[in-house]
């Protein structure tokens, strides 16, 4: 009888244990977009995480960037969405990010603050001390030149400290010599031209933190840009041939050697390396200079935890694992992204995994450029009204380029657009 009882008890225990083991792991969904190969790298890292943490199943939902920009905000506004997301619109949606602080140990909090703390303000509401996530990459706006085209044209590339005028003039010589479609292109984005605007002395931010009226510094670079486009030096396909705030990149035209100069950003390094291959040599040139400096604009994509997750503790475990120094280092080395991890930046010694000889100097140049940004450029990523400014700039400058409005009208309309956004947001 005793044997029977013991056997039954053992069976019951085994049953409970089996049930516990068979319990489904907690599913965490990450909404992710890719510019290059980072989706594959992330999937690989997550597979490793799952091996180490069998109680968590992480699903990486690869979506188009447009989904992140247009559909995610609607999901978030309705209190839904993924558990974690990779986003670039960090500040405006800050109310939807989960504060990881309560789910991290004191030691972990100290690690996060030490290594990512300098950019938490980019992704949390003003005055908050939340830990919403971390930058998967630090981006820096800057230019690329087709070294082969310059060489074939016999035109010397302007060096560090060269002005916008000097770069455009040199690129124009290459255009004439090599018969390219245009001399250069800047991505169709208000964000992209804000570094150059700062270099021409622009200030977007009033003393009280609200948007300042469009000033002469902004108009000086904008006027140049419109004139260069009308003269056929800037590729009109990028800026002119779209309405509203539609984003367009000039990268494809650079990759196809249709322009010798592209002004985009560090996130293009992997893309250029993969798609250009050994078709031609290219170099990163940082940001050309204006009277006030040679500023690009920092930015980045962040992995943020979503407020509406049903599994905040598991989300914190995934986030903390992905934010660990070893993983951030590996992610950066494999994706060719600049890390935003203070410890790694300080320690240096990143071994970027690329056989392309163009890549290491390009990344070095962007690291150098990150030290050349002007105060306005440093403030913009954490400024609430930056998107309002960017939207107004891109919409109205394009109209001026298309000859629909004058530059004076563009200035007036930009001020009106920004004022409308502020008024609407404050209602």
């Amino acid at each position: 009888m005793k044997l029977l009882h013991t056997s039954l008890a053992a069976l019951a225990l085994a049953g409970f244990a089996g049930a516990a083991l068979a319990q489904d792991p907690t599913e965490i969904r990450i909404q992710w977009y890719s510019d290059g190969i980072e989706g594959e790298v992330m999937q690989d890292l997550l597979d490793r995480f799952e091996e180490e943490n069998p109680d968590i199943d992480v699903v990486l939902d690869n979506v188009a960037y447009q989904v992140i920009q247009e559909q995610l905000p609607i999901q978030l506004a309705s209190g839904r969405g993924p558990d974690i997301a990779r986003v670039t619109n960090l500040k405006e949606q800050a109310q939807h990010w989960l504060d990881l602080r309560p789910y991290l140990s004191d030691e972990q909090v100290a690690y996060w603050e030490e290594n990512f703390g300098n950019r938490f303000d980019w992704m949390r509401e003003d005055g908050s001390d939340a830990i919403p996530g971390f930058l998967t990459q630090l981006t820096m706006v800057g230019g690329f030149a087709n070294a082969t085209l310059f060489e074939q044209a016999g035109v010397e590339m302007p060096g560090d400290g060269a002005t916008w005028d000097e770069w455009v003039e040199a690129a124009a010589q290459v255009m004439e010599s090599q018969g390219t479609a245009a001399a250069f292109a800047i991505d169709r984005s208000g964000h992209r031209i804000s570094g150059p605007n700062a270099s021409f002395g622009a200030n977007y931010i009033a003393e009280d933190g609200s948007p300042a009226p469009i000033d002469d510094g902004t108009m000086e670079f904008v006027t140049k840009l419109v004139n260069w486009t009308n003269e056929g030096l800037q590729l009109p396909d990028v800026w002119v041939s779209a309405a509203g705030t539609t984003y367009r990149s000039g990268a494809d035209d650079f990759i196809n050697a249709q322009i010798p100069l592209l002004y985009s950003g560090s996130w293009q390094v992997a893309n250029l390396s993969t798609t250009i291959g050994d078709a031609f040599d290219w170099v990163a040139i940082g940001s050309p200079c204006g009277p006030a400096g040679c500023s690009g604009l920092a930015g980045g994509a962040a992995l943020v935890a979503i407020e509406y997750t049903e599994h905040p503790e598991e989300v914190a475990r995934v986030m903390d694992w992905l934010a660990s120094e070893k993983i951030v280092r590996e992610f950066s080395e494999r994706t060719l992204f600049l890390p935003a991890h203070a410890g790694i930046v300080e320690e240096g010694g990143l071994e970027f995994q690329s056989d392309d000889p163009n890549v290491p100097p390009a990344l070095d140049r962007f690291v150098q450029a990150s030290g050349e940004t002007l105060p306005l450029a440093d403030q913009l990523p954490a400024w609430r009204w930056a998107n309002a400014y960017y939207g107004a700039l891109v919409t109205r400058i394009s109209q001026a380029m298309a000859g629909e409005i004058t530059l004076d009208q563009a200035r007036e309309l930009m001020d009106q657009d920004i004022a409308d956004v502020v008024a609407n947001a404050n209602q």
Partner: protein, 326 residues
């Protein structure tokens, strides 16, 4: 003998339905059968329409209604605030008026072209020509394509390094950057949307042509009536109802134009191909200057214009039908 399943079903549902009819009357019965459709229509059309109207009376950047502030007709006032309606730049929402005037011009040209091309194609396909079935399929094929695919195909043809420029270069002609030119871009949006949708309208007109009694044409032939007179006196009047349907549908579709144009030109160059639906999409969803309340107000205004146009069109077609009957 095995009872057919339908018969069995009829036997089962018949008694309760009869009882229901006795209780509610014939009208109640009709309402009962309409209910499922009305429910679907209500959930997917009426409720969103009402919600859209409510949104248009609110402001703010939040999406949930409970987080938005009521502003009454402020968004409409903003849309309609204009010193001179013929000069969009004098309007508070200049892009709305630019999009509205672009849409008006687009609809006038596109609908005219669409009807003309569809009618000609239907007349040709109605004749006994060799390979008629093949050509019918060819003209209908673009209708099956997704508008995004249509936009991409034509973008590859018309872009700087596109197929058309390649052909022009091969012929020794100067290439043109079609999509950077305001006029060519506008023409391209008309041409592409006509190409994409004409098959559908051709089919409607073809059905109308085939419904015209043959003996009328035989009588005309016996009287040696000239073909142009046959067309004016027989074909056109009898095709009237189909033409009215085509006109109304093409008009509505023309005002709603978005997908293929958005992919093809993005509304550019400048705002020369910015049409109303893209404006609403930009303001409501895509723009860095997002304002869902304003977008909702603009879509209500657009909807109202569509309703007026459709009613006017229907009234005209009914009048012409009555005149035809007399």
């Amino acid at each position: 003998m095995v009872t057919a399943p339908l018969t069995l079903l009829a036997r089962i549902v018949d008694p309760p339905l009869r009882l229901w009819q006795r209780w509610t009357g014939l009208n109640g019965m009709a309402a009962f059968f309409l209910l499922p459709n009305m429910a679907i229509f209500g959930v997917f059309v009426l409720i969103p329409l009402a919600l859209n109207f409510v949104y248009s009376t609110t402001a703010g950047t939040n999406i949930l209604l409970r987080d938005r502030s009521y502003v009454g007709a402020e968004q409409y006032a903003r849309l309609l605030d204009c010193a001179n309606y013929l000069e969009p730049l004098t309007c508070r929402e200049d892009q709305f008026w630019t999009a509205a005037s672009n849409t008006l011009v687009f609809v006038i040209f596109q609908v005219s072209l669409m009807i003309a091309v569809s009618l000609i194609t239907a007349l040709i396909l109605n004749r006994e020509i060799r390979g008629r079935s093949f050509f019918r399929a060819v003209f209908f094929f673009p209708v099956l394509l997704s508008p995004v695919v249509v936009g991409l195909i034509w973008k590859w043809i018309l872009q700087r390094q596109g197929l058309l420029n390649l052909m022009m270069v091969n012929l020794g002609l100067e290439p043109e950057v079609w999509l950077n030119d305001r006029f060519y871009s506008f023409v391209a949006t008309i041409g592409v949307s006509t190409w994409a949708h004409m098959g559908f309208y051709t089919l409607i007109l073809l059905a109308g042509l085939q419904a015209i009694p043959k003996d009328l044409y035989e009588a005309a032939e016996m009287d040696a009536t000239p073909p142009t007179r046959v067309f004016r006196r027989i074909t056109l009047p009898l095709l009237g109802p189909n033409l009215a349907v085509v006109l109304v549908l093409a008009l509505i579709r023309g005002v709603q134009i978005f997908d293929e144009v958005f992919v093809l030109t993005g509304g550019g160059p400048g705002t020369s191909t910015l049409y109303l639906t893209q404006y609403i999409y930009e303001v409501g969803f895509a723009s860095l200057l997002r304002n869902p309340g304003l977008a909702a107000a603009a879509s209500i205004v657009m909807g109202a214009v569509l309703v007026v146009l459709t009613l006017a069109q229907l009234s005209l077609s009914r009048r012409s039908e009555r005149a035809g009957e007399r």
